[in-house]
Amino acid sequence: MKLKSVGRFELAAVIALSNDTGAWMVVGADDPRVEGEDLAREIAAVTMTSVEVVMIDEPTQLGALSSATRDRTIVFVAVEGAERLPLDEQRSVLKRDRSATLVMPIKALAGLATRSPHFTSWIGSEVHVVAEDRFLDQESRNSRLAALRTKYGMSDHELIASTTAGRAPEDPEIAEWLVLIERGDLLQKSAR
């Protein structure tokens, strides 16, 4: 599974382009509630339609919630129990007419491909985290990386080594760092 770091506008634009196909998009966020609202506003601006945010309080309700909203553009937010979403089990009722975006904690992305291989393959084996605009260009990315290296007193290589050994701190900034150096594949290890 590939983890891509993209700007919120870019993500919203991709969702807008595939809105009529009812495609699903999975997004990891430090605070899924806040990201869900931000993303819904951005998608609404790009598509010039209204976009609803729907909280999934009970994981088993996913299929029913999706069916009930299949003709609208929705941002689903799962916080508690995101690891228990029955994405494969309920996949047959996840077919939609308008797109759905599922925002969950970054840590819940880690085992997604293992827990729900069919759903993961159905969405093109790609999940996303939103990068703030200011970190999108190379120069800003480099200065952000320099700040992270200073803060944690580690080089990129040391980060990879300590993450692989399961010794990296469990901070959202570590996840961000891994994504910035295109080692999002190690998130699973850092989340243990």
Partner: protein, 183 residues
């Protein structure tokens, strides 16, 4: 008669937006997305996302810079971010100051560069900060019609209007043949 500079100043408009970021999200990026979707913009979504942004203003306290693409004084195609299908591009920056529920337009520069053999090669709309030399000459808001040394008075446009103008079709109407008068 009211002097021209005052008449031009009266064309300025308060932009309805809660913040510069709100304006970027609701009025600027959707226009760029529409242009992308209609193939009036060649830049891909990542390039648009990366190169169009709002930051704290470098020059004016309490204001924000709305930036689209890198500065490109030499009109180098290699530095063009918001490329267009004719081989040209647009680049812009604007200084906006939030006032309660609106944004005040303080300054801008919006340039459309056409393909390398086009005549004119570019057109640029400038609105200088107050007390700039051009302001003293009554030309705070002006347009360069393909010549960096030539300035003609222009109304003050809002950034989203300039983006629409510059990404739009500036040639003759579809049912009229191109024409060249004089030599």
């Amino acid at each position: 008669m009211i002097p021209l500079a005052e008449r031009i100043a009266a064309t300025s408009v308060a932009i309805e937006a809660r913040s510069a970021g709100d304006y970027l999200q609701r009025e600027i990026r959707p226009r760029l997305f529409k242009a992308f979707d209609e193939e009036r913009l060649d830049a891909d979504l990542h390039e648009i996302s990366r190169s169009v942004r709002v930051t704290r203003s470098e020059r004016v306290t309490d204001a924000f810079d709305l930036v689209g693409g890198r500065r490109n004084f030499d009109r180098d195609p290699a530095l063009a971010d918001l490329r267009m299908p004719d081989g040209g591009w647009i680049t812009f920056s604007a200084v906006l100051r939030p006032n309660r529920e609106t944004l005040e337009i303080l300054a801008y520069t919006f340039e459309r560069v056409f393909r390398s053999d086009a005549q004119p090669r570019f057109v640029r709309f400038d609105y200088n900060v107050p007390d700039h030399d051009n302001d003293k000459r009554g030309l705070r808001s002006h347009v360069h019609p393909g010549n960096d040394d030539m300035q003609l008075p222009s109304p003050i446009l809002a950034p989203h209007e300039l983006i629409e103008l510059l990404l739009g079709e500036m040639g003759p109407a579809a049912d009229r043949a191109p024409r060249t008068k004089g030599r």
